[in-house]
Every structure is written in structure tokens, then in C-alpha cells.
Symmetry: C2
Subunit: 435 residues, 2 copies
């Protein structure tokens, strides 16, 4: 990826970063980079994620996928939540064409939705990947039990259709051993939200026939740019700019790709950014947006609301295109001379300029096209940007302690043990206004 | 809807609202309500939206839908963007079952996506609703020209499958006259983002067979609660609480329904809130979230990040449910005693309590179930909440002037006239960091 931070400069925007401040932040980047490089070299928890382009074994992923997939495969269900679903979904939603198997993600525990998804699928030609490092994630295991029962009811042997992606031990690993299922390992030292470029993120892509090696090659090309200066590394330029703008009042980061196929990428980014940096009362709040659609929804706020936002655009330079047919309406004749792609590009450039003209900071992330290589680079680049930002904030990027409280309370409420958190639920302060 | 603002009180959360402050805000609510009621009585621009439950003619909508729909109808494409799509999409995404016609929304101008959507549909059994008040919205007209051409290429007479929803005059109205198409009018005085309960939002619902009258009845029941006190009106309680929390530092409002079917509702809310209140450097930034999924993505930030957020939950008390099958894994045995619905409810209550325990303000919006009546009430209630908040901020809730700049620039870039905005695009400040 390439990054253009020109519209985040103080000469354009407020808040904005002066050239002097950028130089000063670059000294911090050099220090942070040393820490990151040391963490990578030592394979420390979290930093290890940045070694995935070298470490992930794509043959092993393809072999596991091949054991359950055939030419008739119509769908792959990934049963997982959070980082166990979003990386894989980002890749298949970006790359899947009309003829590829459908990739479905059971990342919620809504009974109506789950029932309707299972009802519309042809289970005879559907394969399953269940993903949980611990093998005990309540939502994932509950959904998997339901999916397994649905296969049994349909007279389909689930053991011939199921891949398991889990840790070295735990209930899902036991299941693998009991039924001799194809399995892959969630890599050690890599938090879920940083696992897109491991087996966790790549099984569905393998089933859908995408080029896993090209994903890693794109990531490796991005890894090569990691140096001690933001002026030489797009990922660090992005992370440092976002951090510096947050420090100057832009506590919100709206991620706005101009490609329908990258809508899920914005979801993935939102988890990466929120869960990694949102601690110690710090962290920029990610907002998921989509160009051109959100010009008709969020742009009014971005341009004229509080000066508390960075808008990050992602734009692909090339892609399939389609002519807009001619029209006999005079007022719209200009459309007939354009393609849909030209219209989308014009909307992107216009929106970017519209924010700059209003002095609102924005950054442009450019990729050449939406393919495996470029997507691998984008995912790796944003992960490296996030790790750098974590160093600059001084937070523990790779933990998520605030999620535990609700997990315990949920378990307590369902009778899975005694937890004081569950008792707190009953003590809710009420001030109800009823219809 | 019912609203519980107990977890937004200063005794629970920081920022939070003291009981004294609520009383004081209630005096402002009384004044704002007089303004709103006067606007409704006079049918003033914008306020007129709150009269839709009485004004919308559901017979007319059903008649238009019946002219293009038959028992074989498999899909309805709505061609529209922003408020011309989001209200309708909220309704069909919430209510559609597996056997209803599929509702598709062409609300972006991405060529690859549009081509792949058109390729997978059976155009023989697909109907179209094109929606634009002015009849000149570039994205909508470009997409409609492509859709029309696809019908022609497939040998299907588009004039027998197309409903037009537009203003009294303009290019789309001319098209209606030329081809004698079934048509509906975008109501005067109702901005797009407030038009869900008019023909704009209800055509797709009619094609999918939903009960339009029940939608309006639910809205009317909510309208009856509009009084001069937030303590008697759930909608005003919500709008006043969100406003007061923003004034106390919660500049972000995360809308988090606990139902997969309400995911699009959160998108609709985000447009309503952003475009109505985001002006004069004011306005809370809406964030679209989804329970339980985002517990594994955003909760860390909501609980431990900056104290700049209100989290709004929407929870349905009843719904279809599904048993979780028994498991022989000891550690997970508690799941086998529960249903998926009980798990989802427990996750909601646990998350709500988890934020309260960390002193983070949150509000619970309760509906009885996801059906026409309750959905109509939810949409109307949030519109009234937004109008009230607009009065309290003192902004012009019903305009969106900041969107114009980019529209002119886009048109200029595509050769649709001379616009100085298009020239500004070429003057972009660059600071590129390349891979």
C-alpha cells in the first residue's frame, strides 16, 4: 500500500500535524521500531503476528481444505467470532466472485438468523470450519453444536465436512482426535485480531480457491518497508499520523474504503484498532464507513460536525469497469460519457477534496487493485500501523482484559458456575420511560 | 418502545446525568416540544415527517406494488442511495423471512459489485423500484440506466417491472409519464432520512408482503407519547439523554442492537443522527455496532477506552428460539441447558452490566419483538428523539448543506459543467509514502 498524509498536515487541516511535529514524531517512531523489531526477533507475544508472512504454512492449509472440499462444494461456513471470523471474512468478501463457493460466517448467536441461514444452505455440498483457540468460546461452541445437529438431521456425515482450527489442547482438539478430523493450529503468540494471515484467516480462502501464497507475498513486501522512519514506511506513516491526530483531538477514525468488496475490511480494521488501542482510557474510536454510499449518510457530519475525526480513505487504482448507458435526459447527459468506475473515482476525489476544503484531516491509502497480493499488503500494513500506534500510546496492544467481565457474567447467568459479575447484573439501576 | 436511562445517571456513570440536571433538561424539553408540535401542526419542512403515520396512504403503495408483483416474484431491487434506500432496507432486513422475495439495495456505484449482483438475479422474476426525489441523483440514475439495460439484454420489458418513487417533477417523473409506469410520490416536507414511514420506505416491504398498516400503527402509538416531558415519552427521554451526555463529553453514540435482523436499523440510525445533528461543529458521532458479535470486537474499547461514548442497546423481549444441543464436554455442559435466545439475552445483560460496572453510560431501548408494529414504533421514536435533540442543540435538523460541495465537484470532474469545486480537487496537498 501507499499512503498519502498530505491532507493531515496542519497547513491543510485542523486538527493537523505540522511538518516540525512530524519530524519529532519520527524520532519516536525510530525508538518504537527498535522495540517492534526486537519483539519480532524474539517471537514475543503479539509481535509474532508480524512474522506470519514467513511462518504460515500454506501447503498445510490447502491440504486440510482439500480433505473436505470437492468440485461440488457450494458453501463454506466458518463458525467463529471476533478475530476468528473477521480476517477470513475480509479476505473472502474482498476476493470472492460470483462462481466461487459462498463464504458464510456464523459470528453471532441469534437463533432466528442461524435457523434461516441453515435452512437456505444445501448441507450436502457445504463444508464447515470451526475456529476457537481455546475451544471453549461459548458463542462458537453453541453455534457449532447447532450446525452439527443440522448436518445429522440432513443425513450428512459432519465428520467428513468439518475442519477444526484451534489451539494445541482443549475440547475442540479432543474432538479432532476422537473423529480424526482435518485440523489446523491457531498460531501461538498471535492474538485473534492479528491472525488473518495465518490458518485462522486463510481456510475459507483456500476452500474458495484463492491464492494464499500471493496473500503472504503481498504481506512480505509490506514487511520489507518496516524501517525506523515514517517517511520510508507506509504502515508507520499511517500509524503515526493516526496517533498524532488523536493526540490533537481527532479521537475518531472513520475507515472509508471506496469499494463495496472492502466493506468487511472496514469491520476488520475496526476490531484491530478498537481492541488493540482501546485501554487505559486511551484509543481512537474506529467508525466503519463505505464510499460512495456514506456520502449520503455520514459526510454531512464529517465535514461540518465536531473537529474530532480523521477520515481514512482506501482506494483501488484499477478494477473491472462498466459503461453507464446513454440517456436522453439533458441534465444527466454527462453520465453517459462516463463509466461507473469513473463515477466512483470522481466521488472519491470529490469527497476527499471536500473534507480538505473544510479543513478536516484525512488520509488516503492506495492499493493497486483488490487482489490477493494487494490485500495481503493492506492487512499486514494496517497491523503494523496498529502495533506502532500501540507503542506510541504506550498501551499493551495485544491484550483485551476488559472483555473478561462480561464473559464471566454471561457464564454465571447461564448457570455455568458462581461468578460475582452475574450478581451485579441483577442490581441494575433502572429509570424506565414506557410507552 | 420503552427506554431505560438508569445506566446514564451520574450515580452510575461518568459522564452521567444527575437527577437535578434531568429535571432542568426537562424544562428545555417542554419548550422544544412546543416548537415541534407547532411545526407538525403547520406541516413545516421536516416536522412534517412526524405526521407520516396519519398521512401515508398504504392503499396507494400496495396498488403500485401490485402492478409489478406476482406470485412468482423472486426479488425486488431498490435503486436509491442514503435516505432513499436505508429506511426501506431497515424494514425488509428486519422482517424478511426465508420465503419472502429477496430485497436488494443498489446504494453504491461500484461496477464489480453491480455486475455481480445483476448476474446472480433472475431478472424474469425481479421487480425494480427507483427512488430519487429530484430524479437527478447521479448514483441512482447511473445505476438505473445500467439496470434498465440489463433487463433489455435479458429480453425482459423493464416498463412492466418498474415502480418509480420521485417528486412532482423531474426526469424520473417524465419517465413515468412517457411509459405510464406505476409511481409514488416522495412526500413534500419530509427529508429522505425521515421518510422510512412513507412510500419511500414501504414499497419494498409491500412487495415482500409485510403489513404496512401495522408499521404505521406502531408509529402512531409512539406519536401519542409525544408530550412536554421526557419522563412521559420514551422518544424524548432518549433524545434528551443522548444530548445531555454529548454535552458532558460523550461525543460518540454506539447503536448496538442485539438482533442480527436489526443490523441495518443501526445503519439507518447512523444516517438519521449524523446528517441531522452533524453541523455547526456540533453533533454526536453515531457508530454502528451489533450484539453479541461486537463484544468480541468493540467492547474492549467501550469499557476501557476514552470516556467519550454512550452505548445504546436495542433488545427484543421475544423471538423465535432454538435449543443448543447437549455436549459431552464437561466445561461446556452449561450450554446444553440453554437456548440460543437465552445465551443472546445473557450476553446482552452481561455486556450492559459490564459497562455500568466500569462507569460507562448506556441506555436500553426495549421492543417487544421484531415485527411491523414494534419496528414502526422504533423508527418513529428515534426520529422524534432526533428532532428533539436537534431543538436542544439549536441546529437545523432537516438540512444537509455540507453534502453539496462534493456533489458539485463530482459533476465538474465528470464534465457535467464548470464548477470551481472540481478545480480544488487538482490542488491537493501531497505527502506520499510509497512501498
Amino acid at each position: 500500500m501507499n499512503v498519502d498524509i498530505g491532507n493531515a498536515l496542519a497547513s491543510v487541516a485542523s486538527p493537523g500535524i505540522s511538518r516540525e511535529a512530524l519530524e519529532s514524531i519520527d524520532d519516536q517512531v525510530a525508538v518504537a521500531h527498535e522495540r517492534i523489531e526486537a519483539g519480532m526477533d524474539a517471537g514475543e507475544h503479539g509481535y509474532e503476528a508480524l512474522n506470519l508472512p514467513e511462518r504460515t504454512d500454506t501447503d498445510e492449509i490447502r491440504l486440510a481444505a482439500d480433505r473436505v472440499t470437492g468440485p461440488e462444494t457450494s458453501a463454506i461456513i466458518t463458525v467463529g467470532i471476533g478475530g476468528s471470523a473477521l480476517g477470513a471474512a475480509t479476505i473472502t468478501d474482498a476476493l470472492n466472485g460470483a462462481d466461487d463457493p459462498e463464504a458464510i460466517y456464523l459470528d453471532n448467536v441469534d437463533p432466528e438468523w442461524l435457523t434461516s441461514e441453515l435452512a437456505r444452505l444445501d448441507l450436502e455440498t457445504t463444508v464447515v470450519n470451526v475456529v476457537s483457540r481455546s475451544g471453549t468460546t461459548a458463542e462458537t461452541l453453541a453455534n457449532f453444536l447447532v450446525v452439527r445437529e443440522a448436518f445429522e438431521s440432513a443425513g450428512v456425515d459432519w465428520t467428513e465436512r468439518t475442519i477444526v482450527t484451534t489451539g494445541e489442547s482443549g475440547p475442540l482438539r479432543d474432538l479432532v482426535d476422537r473423529h480424526d478430523l482435518p485440523s489446523l493450529e491457531v498460531p501461538d503468540g498471535v492474538p485473534g485480531r492479528f491472525s488473518a494471515l495465518s490458518a485462522v484467516g486463510m481456510v475459507a480462502a483456500a476452500v474458495c480457491g484463492h491464492d494464499l501464497d500471493a496473500l503472504l507475498e503481498g504481506a512480505a513486501a509490506e514487511a520489507e518497508t518496516l524501517t525506523g522512519s515514517l517517511f520510508e514506511c507506509p504502515a508507520y506513516a499511517y500509524g503515526a499520523t493516526a496517533y498524532a491526530l488523536d493526540a490533537r483531538g481527532a479521537g475518531i477514525n472513520a475507515m472509508m474504503p471506496y469499494a463495496e468488496s472492502l466493506e468487511t475490511y472496514a469491520e476488520w480494521f475496526a476490531q484491530l484498532w478498537a481492541e488493540s488501542l482501546g485501554k487505559d482510557d486511551l484509543g481512537q474510536t474506529p467508525v466503519r464507513a463505505l464510499g460512495a454510499t456514506d456520502q449520503h449518510s455520514q459526510l454531512q457530519l464529517y465535514r461540518a460536525g465536531p473537529r474530532d475525526k480523521l477520515v481514512t480513505f482506501v482506494s483501488a487504482e484499477e478494477g473491472a469497469d462498466r459503461e453507464i448507458p446513454d440517456t436522453d435526459v439533458d441534465d444527466l447527459a454527462y453520465l453517459g460519457d462516463a463509466t461507473l468506475g469513473e463515477l466512483l473515482d470522481a466521488e472519491f476525489e470529490a469527497t476527499e477534496a471536500s473534507l480538505a476544503a473544510a479543513g478536516r484531516p484525512n488520509v488516503r491509502v492506495e492499493i493497486e487493485r483488490v487482489d490477493e497480493f494487494e490485500l495481503g499488503g493492506l492487512l499486514y500494513g494496517m497491523e503494523a500501523a496498529c502495533v506502532l500506534a500501540g507503542e506510541l500510546y504506550g498501551v499493551n496492544t495485544f491484550e483485551q482484559p476488559a472483555v473478561e467481565w462480561a464473559k464471566k457474567a454471561t457464564r454465571g447467568l447461564l448457570g455455568g458456575g458462581e461468578f460475582e459479575e452475574a450478581e451485579a447484573v441483577a442490581e441494575k439501576t433502572e429509570l424506565r420511560i414506557e410507552r
